[in-house]
C-alpha cells in the first residue's frame, strides 16, 4: 500500500516534467542552439565579399581582438547607456508617481482603469511606426518646426533635430520613455497593491504624512519589483535598436552619436554578412548583460546577506 502511494506522488512530479517539455524543447531549439552557434561562429572568419563566401576559417580570438582594438565599441556602449538613462530616469519617476496614485485607496481616482489603458497604449504601437511618426513630426519641414516658427515664434529658421546630438538622443530616450512607462507603471502598481494595507493603516494612525508613507513603507517593500524593473529595462536598453535605427535611417547620425550596440551589430551582419564579428560582438553583449544583471541582483539583495 505504502509503495503504491509513493508511486502516485512520483507520477504527479512526472506531469510537471511533461508539461515542461514544450518549453524546454522550444528553448533548446530557438535559444540554446543559436546561442551556442553564435559563440562557435565568433571564432571564425566568415563573411561575404561581393557574392563570394569567405570562410568559415577558424581564426581563434582574432574577432575579439579586432572588436576591441579597431571598433568603437566603448563609444557605442556609451551611446546606448546615455540614451537608456535619458529614457529610464523619467520613466521610473513617472511610473512610481502614477503607481502610487493608482494604488492609493484614499485618493479614489475616478476612471483609473481608463487611464491605465491610455498610458499603456503607446506600447502597443510598433516601435518602427512610432519612430516614423517622430521622424515626420520633428523633420525639418515637420509640424514641430512649423509650430516653433510660425505659432510660437521661438526660432526663425527650422531647427534640424536630427543633426543635433542632444536632440537626437533626447528624442530616442523620450520615445523609449513614452513606450515603456505604462508597462512599468502596471508592474510597480502590482507590487504596490501587494503591500499589506494594514501597514498603511498603522502609518495613518501614527500620523505619517503621505511622503513618509511612500519613502518608509512603499519604496522598501517595493524593492523586489523595482529591482526586476531595473534589470529588465537595462537588458532591454542594451538591446535598443528599432527606435534609433528608424529615426536615424540606420546611420546613427549625427556623428555616430545615436549608434547603439545592436545597430553596430546590424551593420556587421548587413551587407557583408560578417557572422564572425557579429558573433563576437553578440558574445560580448551576452557577457555584459549577464554581469550587469548579476551586479544589480547582488546589490539589491545586499541587506539579506
Amino acid at each position: 500500500m505504502k509503495q503504491a502511494k509513493r508511486g502516485k506522488v512520483v507520477s504527479f512530479n512526472k506531469w510537471g516534467y511533461i508539461f515542461l517539455i514544450p518549453f524546454i524543447a522550444v528553448y533548446c531549439f530557438f535559444q540554446l542552439v543559436p546561442l551556442v552557434m553564435t559563440i562557435y561562429y565568433s571564432f571564425f572568419e566568415n563573411y561575404m565579399q561581393g557574392m563570394t563566401q569567405i570562410g568559415p576559417n577558424f581564426i581563434g580570438i582574432q574577432n575579439y581582438i579586432t572588436l576591441f582594438q579597431k571598433g568603437d565599441m566603448l563609444k557605442y556602449a556609451l551611446n546606448t547607456l546615455i540614451m537608456w538613462i535619458i529614457g529610464f530616469i523619467p520613466q521610473i519617476f513617472v511610473s512610481l508617481l502614477l503607481g502610487a496614485w493608482f494604488s492609493d485607496t484614499r485618493l479614489r481616482l475616478r476612471a483609473a482603469g481608463f487611464y491605465k489603458v491610455v498610458i499603456y497604449l503607446p506600447n502597443l504601437i510598433m516601435a518602427s511606426a512610432f519612430s516614423m511618426l517622430f521622424f515626420a513630426l520633428f523633420s525639418e519641414s515637420g509640424p514641430i518646426n512649423a509650430l516653433l516658427m510660425n505659432t510660437l515664434h521661438v526660432i526663425n529658421k527650422p531647427f534640424i533635430f536630427f543633426q543635433d546630438v542632444a536632440a537626437t538622443r533626447i528624442l530616442v530616450g523620450f520615445m523609449n520613455f513614452l513606450m515603456w512607462f505604462g508597462n512599468t507603471t502596471i508592474l510597480l502598481m502590482a507590487g504596490m497593491l501587494g503591500i499589506d494595507p494594514s501597514l498603511y493603516e498603522a502609518a495613518e494612525v501614527d500620523g505619517a504624512t503621505p511622503t513618509q508613507v511612500f519613502w518608509r513603507i512603499t519604496l522598501p517593500l517595493l524593492r523586489p519589483i523595482l529591482v526586476y524593473v531595473v534589470i529588465t529595462s537595462l537588458i532591454g536598453g542594451l538591446q535598443m535598436f528599432d527606435v534609433p535605427q528608424i529615426l536615424t535611417n540606420g546611420k546613427g547620425s549625427p556623428a555616430n552619436s545615436a549608434m547603439t550596440l545592436i545597430m553596430w551589430l546590424n551593420r556587421h551582419i548587413g551587407t557583408s554578412k560578417n557572422f564572425g564579428m557579429g558573433g563576437a560582438l553578440s558574445v560580448v553583449l551576452f557577457i555584459i548583460t549577464g554581469v550587469l544583471s548579476m551586479v544589480v541582483y547582488k546589490l539589491s539583495n545586499g541587506k539579506e546577506d
Binding site: I18, A25, Y41, G50, M51, T52, S253, T271
Partner: protein, 468 residues
C-alpha cells in the same frame, strides 16, 4: 492510463508542431561557396570591348516556374513595366506588386536601397535555393557585384543578339560587363546637367536662357560667384550640399577601393571643401538629398543637378502646384559634365521563367516603341542612339518640366565623357557613408578629421576586407 497516454501524445504533438516550423531552415551558414569564378576584385571595366553578346535567336528558353519574381528598390521601372509592357495586367488597381503576363503571375519585391538594404535582401534571395528570383535590377554603384557568372544570366544565353544592342550606349554596357560577357541591359542613359529655376535666374542673373546661364556657371569658380549673388538676393544656390555630390563623385579619376584599401579621390575632397564653404556661407543646406521637398514647390533654391529621370521622378511633377508643374525649370550643362545613376535589368541565373524574363528584358530595354514611349510619357533619356538623335534634332519636342526646352542635346554632351572604369562594387556604401559623415562636418558637429574617421569606420564595418 489512457488519459496519460493521450496527454503525452498531445504534448509531443504540440512540440512536434512547433519544431516542424523550423525544419529545412537551419540557421547554419554553410561553407558552400557562392557560385562565382575568382576573387571579387573591383570591377575592371576598362579593358572590356562592349557591343557583342555572341547570342543568337535560336536559343530555346522555357518557362517552368509558377510565378515571375522581380526585385527592385523603388517603383520607377515598375511603373514603366505596368504601363508599357505588352500583355501586362495588374491584378488590382491599388496593388502594384502583383500582376500577370498572360497566365503567368508576376510578383514584385520592393526593398528601398538605403544602407544597402536592397542589396542585403537581394543577396539573401539569390543565395537561397528555395527563393524565387527571375529578374532583378541593379544600380551602377554596385552592378559589378551581381554581373558575374552564376548570379546573372549572360544576355547571349537569353537569345539577345548583337543587332538588339547595336544602338545602345557603350558605357551602359561596360557597367554590366564582366570578363567580356554582358549580363544586363538598361533602358536609360543618365547624362546629367544643371537644372535651374527660371524665375530666380531672371530675377538675379537677368536671363533664363540656357546658353546665357551656362556662360555664367561654366566652371566651379564662376558657379560659386553666382552662389554669392544668389545669397545676396535671398536665395540658396542649391537645396543641400548633397545636390552637387554626384557631379564630383562621377568625375573621379581613381576608384573608391584600390588593392583592398579605401581610396579617396581628389575630386571628393574638392566637393567637401566647396560644400563646407557654401554651408558656412549659408548658400546651401545640409539635410538629406531626398528631403528637399519644399525646394521643388517654392522659389527657394537656384539649381539642382540631375539627369532625365530627375524631372519625372524627383521634382514633384504632378503634385499640382510644384515648379515642375508650371514648367519653371531649365537645363544647362553646368560647371562640369557628368552623369548620375542608372538602373540595369538583369535576369537571375537561377530563373525558372527564362522565356518571359528574357522577353521583359528585351522589350523594356530594347524595343524601340517602348523606348519612344518612355521619352514621350516620362521624359526619361533612353539607351538608344538613334531615338535620342531623333529627339535631339526635333525642334518641336519640348519637356514640360523645362518649360518646353529640349534637353536631349545637353544630355548627349554630358554622355560624351562618361568614364565608368573607376566603378567598384563598394560604391554605394562609400557614397552614402561619405555624405553622412561629411554632413556632420558641414554642420559643425565634428571637425574634418573626426568626420573622416567616422567615414572609414563605417566602410570598414560594412566591408571587413577593406582597410584605410
Amino acid at each position: 492510463m489512457k488519459k496519460k497516454l493521450l496527454s503525452v501524445m498531445l504534448s509531443t504533438a504540440m512540440v512536434a508542431a512547433l519544431l516542424a516550423g523550423c525544419t529545412g531552415n537551419t540557421p547554419a551558414v554553410t561553407s558552400e561557396v557562392a557560385p562565382t569564378t575568382s576573387e571579387v576584385a573591383p570591377v575592371a571595366t576598362s579593358e572590356i570591348e562592349p557591343g557583342s553578346v555572341g547570342g543568337s535567336e535560336d536559343v530555346v528558353l522555357e518557362d517552368t516556374g509558377d510565378k515571375l519574381t522581380i526585385e527592385c528598390w523603388n517603383d520607377e521601372w515598375q511603373t514603366r513595366v505596368i504601363n508599357l509592357m505588352p500583355g501586362y495586367t495588374q491584378d488590382s488597381e491599388n496593388d502594384p506588386n502583383h500582376g500577370h503576363i498572360g497566365d503567368l503571375p508576376v510578383e514584385w519585391i520592393v526593398t528601398p536601397s538605403d544602407n544597402g538594404a536592397y542589396q542585403n535582401a537581394l543577396d539573401a534571395d539569390l543565395l537561397d535555393d528555395a527563393a524565387d528570383v527571375d529578374i532583378f535590377l541593379v544600380e551602377a554603384d554596385y552592378a559589378g557585384k551581381y554581373t558575374v557568372p552564376g548570379v546573372a544570366k549572360a544576355l547571349g544565353d537569353l537569345g539577345i543578339t548583337d543587332a538588339d544592342i547595336a544602338d545602345q550606349y557603350a558605357y551602359t554596357q561596360q557597367v554590366v560587363t564582366t570578363d567580356g560577357v554582358l549580363y544586363g541591359s538598361s533602358w536609360q542613359t543618365c547624362g546629367a546637367g544643371m537644372i535651374y529655376n527660371r524665375d530666380i535666374a531672371k530675377e538675379v542673373l537677368g536671363t533664363d536662357d540656357p546658353d546665357e546661364v551656362q556662360a555664367l556657371v561654366s566652371d566651379w569658380d564662376k558657379w560659386q560667384d553666382v552662389a554669392g549673388q544668389m545669397k545676396e538676393a535671398g536665395y540658396k544656390m542649391t537645396p543641400c550640399a548633397a545636390t552637387s555630390y554626384r557631379v564630383f563623385s562621377n568625375n573621379v579619376t581613381t576608384p573608391w577601393v584600390k588593392d583592398g584599401k579605401i581610396n579617396v579621390d581628389a575630386n571628393i575632397q574638392k566637393w567637401i571643401d566647396m560644400s563646407k564653404e557654401m554651408v558656412d556661407a549659408e548658400q546651401t543646406g545640409t539635410f538629406g538629398l531626398w528631403d528637399t521637398n519644399e525646394d521643388f514647390q517654392k522659389n527657394i533654391s537656384f539649381c539642382v543637378f540631375g539627369p532625365a529621370w530627375y524631372f519625372d521622378f524627383c521634382m514633384q511633377k504632378g503634385s499640382g502646384d510644384s515648379i515642375a508643374d508650371r514648367g519653371g525649370w531649365a537645363l544647362c550643362q553646368g560647371p562640369q559634365a557628368h552623369y548620375w545613376g542608372g538602373t540595369w535589368v538583369c535576369v537571375a541565373d537561377k530563373t525558372d521563367n527564362a522565356a518571359t524574363a528574357a522577353e521583359i528584358l528585351k522589350t523594356m530595354t530594347m524595343d524601340e516603341g517602348v523606348l519612344t514611349s518612355i521619352i514621350e510619357d516620362y521624359g526619361d533619356n533612353v539607351n538608344n542612339k538613334t531615338i535620342v538623335a531623333k529627339y535631339a534634332a526635333d525642334t518641336t519636342y519640348g519637356n514640360d518640366v523645362l518649360g518646353g526646352q529640349n534637353p536631349y542635346s545637353i544630355f548627349e554632351g554630358a554622355l560624351a565623357n562618361v568614364d565608368v572604369s573607376n566603378m567598384t562594387i563598394y560604391d554605394q556604401i562609400c557614397n552614402e557613408a561619405i555624405q553622412t559623415a561629411m554632413t556632420d562636418y558641414f554642420t559643425g558637429k565634428v571637425d574634418e578629421d573626426t568626420a573622416w574617421d567616422n567615414f572609414y569606420t563605417q566602410v570598414e564595418e560594412t566591408y571587413p576586407e577593406l582597410s584605410r
